[in-house]
């Protein structure tokens, strides 16, 4: 079941009713049953096994750790056992198609959705208990719900025990305002996913899945589209997850904060997939960095390379992800070494508050991030290398006459006209809708405070305007949402 399907909406309506009709002391059971059912509908039995195993192991080891003195040999062993078993589950589930002989013909072996997220969550739980920063959860029901809570089950956010467990026991009260904001957030997330992301996916696929036909500008444009696609896809999912959880009285963590406005790669990782980057920062980077502290200036760069290499692997054991991870590791390590000089330079020339400098930094960061996305999206290393080596060819097409522009925009652009270069042999309608979607995205998410813009003010003040927006949002999702049932990008991880 995916958030962008009607069957989920019906499922959730039912869960919502049962949840609020049930006695508060039993609500955890309602949600747990719903979460297991939700996961089971994926029809890949190994997933339920993985979930149950991760839950039982982490629950049991957590309780064992609670009885032992911190950092003792025994508790260290238990901790490592817990981490090992959790990672083993992740690796086995990922490699199931290779491990299970094909004559057994079990369905959906390659599906591993959600496992990487709740395995990481379980590991963070064990570490927090080990360091005595989190008391072990004694109630198996609440703990199981903490791991399997269906709004965050498939693609996160990765929630810390201290953030989620207390809320499960004492959810927030539902008010008109909460319902309104939750539904609006869900609708916006859905819009980003089915109207913007999936449509951009068609354009990106037209290039990345037919690479030999494209060079130069097309590769740049497709990559920029991909950067927006993956953002709308993943942040759309997250918005839907947060909206759904909010209707149940639970506040999930923010996962995105205008990532493409980052002024440095370090800033980017404070804005992209925040629950994941804070996880790798707290549980991989910091300990590794501290363990290497005798290496002084080299401790941070090395720790960063290790951290981002592992981050690449978490996404998948293909060279594309490894390269993507290593690129970000390289970016971060370089930044760690150069940041003090950048600071001195900006201070020396009094450029710290310069808007031009800020725009330049945003632009450079965006280009670096997009360069890394090439390897994330490309089918394999050969394709990635193709993009990199052909990015600059054919760029002489830029100085163009208007006539050629018009000629090239004819839809049946099978030839090498500008239309083909910029529209990738995809229909004019899809191209225009994609640009329309991007425009809406910028209008809604670019401003620092949407409520203070003319749009936000009008929205709050005029009922007619507000309901027009609701209507347009709903209609565009129904009418423009792509027919192709594209799965979520991050559900592969």
């Amino acid at each position: 079941m995916q958030f962008n399907t009607p069957v989920f909406w019906i499922f959730f309506a039912a869960v919502f009713c049962v949840y609020y009709l049930a006695r508060p002391a039993w609500r955890w059971a309602v949600l747990l049953a719903a979460s297991l059912f939700f996961y089971a509908t994926i029809n890949a039995p190994q997933l339920i096994l993985a979930l149950v195993f991760v839950t039982i192991i982490s629950y049991a080891l957590g309780r064992m750790l609670a009885g032992l003195p911190a950092e003792s040999n025994k508790s260290k062993s238990i901790l490592w056992l817990g981490i090992f078993l959790n990672l083993a589950v992740l690796i086995i589930i990922r490699y199931l198609p290779v491990l299970i002989p094909s004559w057994l013909s079990l369905p959906n072996l390659a599906v591993s959705v959600g496992v990487s997220f709740y395995v990481f969550q379980a590991i963070s739980y064990l570490l927090d208990v080990y360091y005595e920063e989190q008391p072990a959860e004694r109630h198996l029901g609440y703990f199981s719900l903490y791991i399997s809570f269906f709004p965050k089950l498939l693609q996160g956010p990765i929630e810390r025990a201290s953030a989620l467990l207390p809320q499960l026991r004492k959810p927030n009260v539902l008010t008109d305002e909460v319902i309104r904001s939750a539904l609006l957030l869900f609708a916006w997330g859905l819009f980003k996913k089915v109207v913007i992301a999936d449509r951009l996916g068609i354009l990106v696929g037209a290039v990345y899945d037919h690479l030999p036909q494209f060079t130069g500008i097309s590769l740049w444009l497709a990559t920029f589209y991909y950067a927006l696609q993956i953002y709308c896809d993943f942040s759309g999912y997250t918005d839907m997850a947060i909206g759904v959880a909010r209707l149940l009285g639970i506040n999930l963590s923010i996962n995105f904060n205008k990532p493409y406005l980052a002024i440095s790669i370090a800033d980017f990782w404070r804005r992209w997939h925040i629950s994941f980057s804070t996880w790798i920062f707290d549980y991989i980077f910091k300990p590794v960095q501290m363990n290497l502290r005798r290496l002084k200036t080299w401790a941070s760069p090395i720790a960063l390379l290790v951290t981002f290499f592992l981050s690449g692997i978490w996404h998948g054991a293909s060279w594309g992800f490894v390269i993507w991870g290593l690129l970000h590791g390289l970016y971060m390590a370089s930044y760690a070494l150069l940041a003090p000089y950048e600071k001195k330079f900006l201070r020396r020339f009094k450029l710290e508050n310069s808007t031009m400098v800020r725009i330049a930094r945003i632009g450079i960061t965006f280009l670096l991030v997009c360069f890394a996305w090439i390897f994330f999206r490309a089918k394999d290393i050969t394709d990635g290398w193709y993009v990199v080596s052909h990015m600059f060819s054919g760029l002489d097409i830029i100085p163009l006459s208007l006539a050629r522009l018009i000629q090239g925009l004819s839809i049946s652009g099978q030839g090498l006209g500008l239309g083909y270069t910029l529209m990738f042999n995809v229909s004019l309608a899809d191209n225009i809708l994609a640009l329309f979607g991007i425009a809406i995205l910028l209008i809604v998410e670019l401003p620092a405070n949407l409520a203070k813009t003319w749009l936000g003010v009008a929205f709050q003040k005029y009922t007619v305007f507000r309901w027009t927006v609701y209507w347009l949002l709903t209609m565009s999702i129904l009418a423009l949402g792509t027919i192709v049932q594209a799965g979520f990008v991050y559900s592969r991880f």
């Binding site: 911190a70 950092e71 360091y131 005595e132 920063e133 920062f281 980077f285 910091k286 300990p287 960095q289 501290m290 502290r293 005798r294 002084k296 401790a299 941070s300 760690a336 940041a339």
Partner: protein, 76 residues
Amino acid sequence: MNTIETLNTIFRTVFDNPEINIRPEMTANDVEGWDSLSHVNLILAIENHFHIQFTQKELRSHKTVGDLIQSIESKV
């Protein structure tokens, strides 16, 4: 010199700023240049000066200057 004064000297050296005056409630947000990258230099300087070594658990507990002082004093 007591702990907080010694620590203040260390702060001034590590962050190259003779104007720093630490108070127990301060965090990394309150001291310019104190971030996760430079924090490791601070820890190293503290360990070298006081001839101590922090455990991972202790390192994780350092949220404010006060935590640092408490941590140092418990080991010296």
